[in-house]
Symmetry: C2
Subunit: 328 residues, 2 copies
């Protein structure tokens, strides 16, 4: 089979590509070819038995998707997006990539379906940003989608389009709302959610980190390993079990900052915890206070999607998968 | 003030125009001008003190909205849409009018806002079709939007865009999900919902009607008079009370077919009821079984939106507003 990853240069896209190459199959189906595309050409990976193609593409161009599906990939992982902060600052760019780009892809697949019966699985990564406060403490699968950002709006529209195109039989789509990724490897970034990772990642590498919110703050997490696992499972899950509600929240670990710190203490000791400096930032506290705290992700669990087992497991997955690269 | 109705040739648009002319104001603000547009030019109404402009426009053309807002109307009623059955049959046309047409309007207003600070109220009529089964018996304001038709998908996307553009301060939008309109004046039509009106309208005019479902079927209704009232109220409600959730389900009357029939009996007697022929149609029963039965429309009620008081009131409103025209 042939898998296409759009957005393959990002952290999750790159990790997904490596996992697909390592396993050489999706479920029981052998992967013959893997196509890796992004706005900049993803780095060339060693594919072994899997043929690897890479390239740069701009999905804001309607012709891009037509070219991407020319070889009729069996599974399309659509991860490409302008991230939340940038979509909020640049309204046109966010709509152009996150809404129009997604629609061009779906339209290209529909045209191919109508031409020759092409019927790929499309895995679309959505986001918790589709939810907007006020929110209950635990959010059910039936809770309303009312985004409070342009990014969340664009992802919610992508979900609706995915469900309608799937319902009409143009392709076999599944949308997965990823929890906040933690521990995100790499350098600290300016995202409001950055501290959830940095208060663990930096101390694990012997460096200081700033905690801008109270330790009672609760949120919903998945390791990169679990998130990549969701995508692979979404590529092979039996969609006849899903019905018409093609989008769902992925399971995660609901944890407070205090839970994070205690998990760090167990794994790296008091010395690591001492590297966390609590410097409350009311602006960040205000943003985080509107975020989801926990979900009852029953639909996804029933379909076999598997979350990390604990916050300690999240830290252990990070140490195994990424820490050697940053010297931890 | 200047009001623009896009979709003014339809039953509700025409009724809204007549009500605005009759009252001569929205809330306390005097209406100086009323612009009436549709895909075909709406019929010329006698405006009295209100200046009336009419014209044909195709909102699938991006230039159309730019021209429509050239005179900077203070309130825009956006009612124009391809209806459910046609949007399901003609996928491209539905998306072109219901999604792209709505987005072109919002984009034109945003461009005007960025140019000269233009900031109209936009009243967008959405639909119960944004909800998809399985549904609870009574649907709360927090229930998830999962349409099972392209029309419902397009309306749900319009809601998301309206909320995001309002949140960004480009205009002051409010989206109102109308109940099923009953009694719809005019001739029987092929819509699956048509019998809800025809089992009353035809007997009130001394004619036979077919009931294709069981009398236990329950649904959510508003008279044309109440629906027009929702639009007028949406044009003047204090949107600072709404917050960022700019879309809401309108209050209605939850009634069974049996309730409809008993209301008919009270108003027009056994003779009228005897004109209803029960001929079960499994295809229509299957469609209707997926529809909402009742809502807890708390948000709209708190904002002062007023439903019909009973099913009898719905019939009485029909007799006063429309029946003379069809000879009832």
């Amino acid at each position: 089979m042939h898998c296409l990853i759009i957005g393959a240069a990002g952290m999750l896209g790159d990790g997904l590509a490596k996992r697909l190459i390592r396993e050489g199959k999706v479920g029981t189906r052998k992967i013959a070819k893997l196509s890796l595309f992004d706005i900049i050409e993803p780095k060339k990976l060693e594919g072994g038995d899997v043929e690897i193609a890479t390239g740069a593409t701009d999905i804001a161009d309607p012709a891009a998707a037509v070219a991407l599906i020319e070889a009729r990939p069996d599974v399309i992982f659509h991860l490409a997006a302008i991230v939340s902060g940038e979509a909020e600052r640049d309204f046109d760019k966010g709509y152009s990539i996150n809404l129009d780009g997604t629609r061009y892809l779906f339209e290209a697949v529909r045209a191919a379906h109508e031409k020759d019966g092409y019927f790929p699985r499309i895995v679309f990564t959505s986001s918790l940003a589709v939810f907007g406060s006020p929110l209950p403490e635990v959010i059910s699968d039936d809770f309303i989608i009312t985004p409070r950002s342009s990014y969340g709006t664009q992802k919610a529209i992508g979900e609706l389009l995915l469900a309608d195109y799937s319902r009409k039989g143009f392709f076999d789509g599944i949308g997965i709302r990823l929890p906040t990724i933690c521990i995100r490897p790499g350098k600290p970034n300016a995202a409001a959610s950055g501290f959830f990772s940095s208060i663990l990642r930096e101390p694990l590498a012997g460096q200081a980190a700033v905690l801008p919110v109270d330790t009672s703050v609760r949120h919903w997490f998945a390791s990169p390993r679990a998130a990549i696992g969701f995508m692979v499972h979404a590529a092979m899950v039996d969609t006849s079990l899903i019905g018409e509600r093609r989008n769902m929240t992925m399971p995660g670990v609901s944890a407070t900052v205090s839970d994070e710190i205690e998990a760090l203490r167990k794994i790296a000791g008091d010395e690591a915890v001492a590297l966390i400096n609590h410097q409350p930032d009311p602006a960040i506290e205000a943003i985080i206070s509107t975020w989801p705290q926990a979900f009852d992700a029953k639909r996804a669990l029933d379909l076999g999607f598997e979350a990390d087992s604990s916050f300690e497991a999240i830290i252990e997955a990070y140490l195994e998968d990424y820490a050697p690269k940053i010297g931890g």
